[in-house]
Amino acid sequence: MKILVLVDGSKWSQKAALHAFSVAKRKNAKVILFSVLDRKEVRAIAFHLSIRSESIDDIQRFEETAWRDTKRSIKEVITALLELGHREGVNCSFKIIEGSAKDKILEEANSGKYSLVVMGAYGKSGKTRIGSLLEDVVGSIEPPVMIVK
């Protein structure tokens, strides 16, 4: 059995990993912590936070800093989860890729390699309405999906 955990760095995705570890421990399953980094999202944040800046260089510099921090931040979260997983005796590894989150998640989740996909109910913005998540991602994922709150 192989379990895919969608990790976006949020508290909810970390809780999702804990549930995946729980299943993996019993089933001797392999857990893959999967994260997609979307440069466009970072660019949008950089733009909106820097919009009052007079110099385009500031925006670009800010975007580079934000991108570097995003990558560092997700690596820190995944490292902490891997440590916990290994401490619990779970066979886990990670995969971080760049691209459009929805496309890459569906590509990986529907690759035929997984018996279960585990994800947080909310993202990095905290508790919000979860309809779009269900509509955009969960509905198109073929294996069973565990949504963690």
């Binding site: 729980s22 089933k27 279960l116 309809g131 269900l134 509509e135 198109s140 565990m146 949504i147």
Partner: protein, 181 residues
């Protein structure tokens, strides 16, 4: 809590200290504290079923088998709103026929699942309930640690709308992990 304290101290070193609890409360949606870093224990699972729940895939049984000490509750729901609609439009006799047919279907589906669960050696109970499919599940979900539910539960789905609106509502309002299949 050590890791969290370190994080707060690093990110908010000028304001942490006495305002620690205040910060913790304000940002609780974003931090997973050490206390929350615990592998969850699932002791009870609710599995709502209905006429749209035709098959339960093997992967779901595989997930269920990861909780050998959990108590499973299978509930087949007969839609009272549909029954009322039939009674109002076609009459009492047709409503009765609908209900009897649904009860037969419940018996078939529960029997199929019972066999698979028995193979897993997990304790279970089953029930057939006549009521509102969403309201009933929401009202009892709090008594269980997890829900396992079909994406099609409650209504027909289409190629473009792959999750039923009833499931949307349940996932939105139930504060438990939900496995959708």
């Amino acid at each position: 809590m050590v890791k969290f304290t370190d994080l707060i101290t690093r990110k908010f070193q000028n304001i942490a200290g006495s305002r620690y609890e205040e910060i913790l409360k304000a940002y609780e949606e974003f931090f997973l504290t050490e206390e929350e870093m615990v592998i969850p224990d699932i002791k009870s699972i609710l599995i709502p079923l209905d006429r749209y729940t035709t098959t339960v895939p093997d992967e779901v049984y595989e997930t269920i088998s990861a909780y050998p000490n959990a108590r499973l509750q299978l509930v087949y729901m007969i839609d009272e709103n549909v029954c009322r609609l039939i009674r109002d439009t076609l009459g009492e006799e047709d409503a009765k026929k609908f209900r009897e047919k649904e009860e037969r279907r419940a018996s078939e589906i529960l029997s199929r699942m019972r066999d698979r669960i028995r193979e897993l050696g997990i304790a279970w109970a089953e029930d057939t309930v006549f009521g509102d499919k969403s309201e009933y599940v929401e009202s009892i979900a709090g008594e269980y640690d997890m829900l396992i539910i079909s994406k099609h539960y409650g209504s027909e789905t289409t190629r473009t709308h792959t999750v039923s609106p009833v499931v949307f509502r349940i996932v939105q309002y139930v504060g438990r992990p939900v496995v959708l299949y």
